[in-house]
Symmetry: C2
Subunit: 227 residues, 2 copies
């Protein structure tokens, strides 16, 4: 029976990958870079998006798809900062978003008026690692209140991410957390990881984060001009 | 295809529930209360177990089964505090422990010499909620660095838990976290939840936690005498 489960799962995953490819083409046709934000529950995805929408939401024409197991709380929090919310996906118990949900959510988003898309995944360091959503890159948020060994314990997520954002750095003075060790562990798993450090509470590091987003949008626009 | 997936999953879950019943009988025959510790990654399960083993590990004859996706780091951390470690289960990518893993892990544990069993689940607020491990109760750890709405966003876990332990209370002065609101949200989901508050760092609240464990062991022993 274990084998049958795996067979079915592989067929579901293959179908997801095909849908993700379609989503990726759709986003590329509109030159919209899309980032899949993943982390533990409570690592600060929504707080970072709140600061991001408030500061560069209009400048960069940011749209957001939020995914949650049961509520649309995150979408409601973000709605205070933008009119561009695309969709709140309530997964009804599922532990990750999938490409079919993103394809459906995109129907509510005007991609011609979108410069950058965030997909806020379900808070979970395990399952979302395996589900391609058609994104340009996965960005994993890693809070300084977690353990330094999280990248070693959840390596798939860190292997498949392009960026790690160390969050809640304002708490570094109050927690026994060695941020350099944490980053070294992340790079042991994935030497190509780009690292950012932010506090959505005191604002430190956010300028670098916004610059990264501006560069991502500019790169997509260069592609438009070149095409 | 979605329907086929569910059919297979239901058969797997039914098999898990049958195995969990066997585990529960085995633990009851030895009058060992077992607690399934669940939480987000980094909420402090291992830190709480370290303090617990160091202080009442010998007194209460505590054994531990640790589950992790990829490493045995947690078991190594705990091994410094006790000789009683039963088993480190590496799930190899799975996002939760299951009853078959617990049944196998128990083969390495002397239940006659065990007064209390902890099962430290994979850090994940979604999937472990659905998998009965044969435990007496699920204890969900909820860190004050997470959002107050976690119980509303991950209700299955809080519904199925008997206790919630608010962790990292030493950080309350440094985070915008309303602990009374968080507890109220947890009780909205599950009015029967017992609530404890601890800091494994400064030790506050640990005396209440140890008393709860002592009562759980004493209740099991009364059962022995009555039998």
């Amino acid at each position: 029976m274990a084998i049958r489960t795996i067979e079915v799962r592989e067929r579901v995953m293959a179908r997801n990958d095909a849908l993700a490819a379609t989503v990726r083409e759709q986003l590329a046709a509109h030159d919209v870079p899309a980032f899949n934000l993943v982390s533990s529950p409570g690592a600060g995805k929504t707080a970072l998006l709140e600061r991001t929408l408030a500061t560069v939401g209009e400048e960069l024409c940011i749209s957001v798809i939020t995914g949650d197991v049961q509520t649309d709380n995150d979408a409601v929090r973000l709605a205070a900062h933008t009119d561009r919310i695309g969709s709140a996906v309530i997964t009804g118990g599922a532990c990750h978003l999938d490409a079919l949900q993103i394809q459906s959510a995109l129907e509510a988003i005007d991609l011609d008026a979108t410069g950058l898309l965030f997909i806020e995944n379900v808070g979970n360091l395990v399952c979302p690692a395996n589900w391609d959503l058609g994104e340009q890159g996965k960005i994993v948020l890693f809070s300084v209140t977690e353990g330094e060994d999280k990248p070693l314990k959840y390596p798939a997520m860190f292997e498949r991410a392009s960026h790690v954002v160390m969050t809640k750095t304002d708490l570094l003075a109050h927690v026994p957390f060695d941020i350099e060790l944490a980053i070294a562990n992340a790079r042991r798993v994935n030497p190509d990881l780009e690292v950012l450090r932010v506090s959505s509470l005191d604002g430190s590091g956010l300028a670098d984060w916004f610059d990264f987003l501006r560069r991502s949008v500019a790169r997509a626009r260069v592609h438009v001009n070149a095409g």
